[in-house]
């Protein structure tokens, strides 16, 4: 069976859902239609008094992947990760360290430090990062369980702008490469899977669709198609035409 392996934990689904930006009562349907097994969450100050909690909308058996959004350096990321673990949802964490409020691009150097610190604390660490080979190698050495390069700025729906650099990570890093951020369409998710990415994460692409559960279903299909194409091995590309039908046995004189 073809499974996604994250720090020894196995998953059939290769489509990771970001749970932000849509209404809570939509969450369950999106998870189901997307065939999702892993969903990310954020940690924020809690509101007092009977407010609905997203955990009540996530079906049992879904693996929760808290992110460290809001962290501006490694220490803040560790603080958020420890609070997330205390919330009682396991020891996986998506490290996200962002110091830039305009493009929300990750700080690779602080992210590497956060991976080191959190690996030592026993977390399964999935760092969100700018696709850079040296940084990815450092994250692998620091104990990352996967590498999560961005395709384009978070929430932009611009697609796989960093494709060539992500492919370098796929070829050179011996960890699952998961495209996170920027994927705007199922075709882009499929393309990421075709080049050998282990999974795709999406949130905004789905949350900003007209029919949100249907788009989750479209992503599921696209990610599965791309994975199959990768496993099948893509056919070669030629500059000139090559007949697919035999070039002998033509009927004469028609």
């Amino acid at each position: 069976m073809d499974m996604l392996d994250l720090g020894g934990r196995k998953f059939r689904s290769r489509f990771i859902l970001g749970s932000g930006k849509f209404s809570l009562d939509m969450t369950k349907r999106v998870i189901e239609r997307g065939g999702v097994e892993i969903a990310t969450l954020a940690v924020r100050r809690a509101n007092a008094g009977g407010e609905e909690n997203i955990l009540d909308h996530i079906p049992d058996g879904i693996t929760l992947l808290p992110n460290t959004s809001g962290a501006r350096n490694a220490e803040e990321a560790v603080r958020i990760a420890l609070l997330a673990r205390e919330l009682g949802c396991g020891d996986m964490v998506k490290v996200e360290v962002v110091r830039d409020s305009r493009y929300l691009l990750p700080d690779n150097r602080e992210t590497i430090r956060a991976v080191e610190l959190l690996s030592r604390e026993g977390f399964i660490v999935l760092p969100y990062m700018m696709p850079d080979l040296s940084a990815a190698r450092d994250m692998a050495t620091a104990g990352a369980a996967a590498i999560m390069p961005l395709g384009a700025p978070i929430g932009s729906n611009k697609g796989l702008l960093t494709k060539d650099f992500i492919k370098i990570l796929v070829d050179e890093i011996d960890l699952p490469i998961i495209v996170d951020a920027g994927i705007g369409r199922p075709s882009q998710a499929c393309e990421a899977m075709e080049i050998g990415c282990a999974a795709v994460m999406a949130n905004t692409a789905i949350a900003t669709a007209n029919d949100i559960p249907l788009m989750a279903s479209a992503f599921k299909t696209a990610v599965e198609a791309g994975r199959k194409a990768y496993l099948a091995g893509l056919g070669r590309v030629k500059d000139r035409g090559e007949a697919s039908s035999p070039l002998t046995g033509f009927l004469e004189d028609i």
Binding site: G18, L41, R44, A46, N53, E86, I154, T204
Partner: protein, 64 residues
């Protein structure tokens, strides 16, 4: 006491667990950090709050 950045007056002695309940938090859905240190849920009943404390109460929300 400061709770999530806002000043709160304690009118009587509270344990963390008593305060969370009185303020309407669901103890099973939050994590608490008192003066920078995480309080394990098992200790909510025995940790006493003080006027000079700084308390952060967090929970999960949707996010990518």
């Amino acid at each position: 006491m400061r709770v999530n950045g806002a000043e709160v007056n304690l009118d009587r002695p509270f344990t963390l667990s008593e305060y969370l309940k009185a303020a309407g938090y669901d103890c099973l859905r939050v994590a608490a950090e008192l003066n920078g240190a995480i309080v394990p849920r098992a200790k909510y009943d025995v940790v006493a709050l003080d006027d000079g404390d700084s308390l952060e109460i967090v929970g999960f929300v949707g996010g990518g």
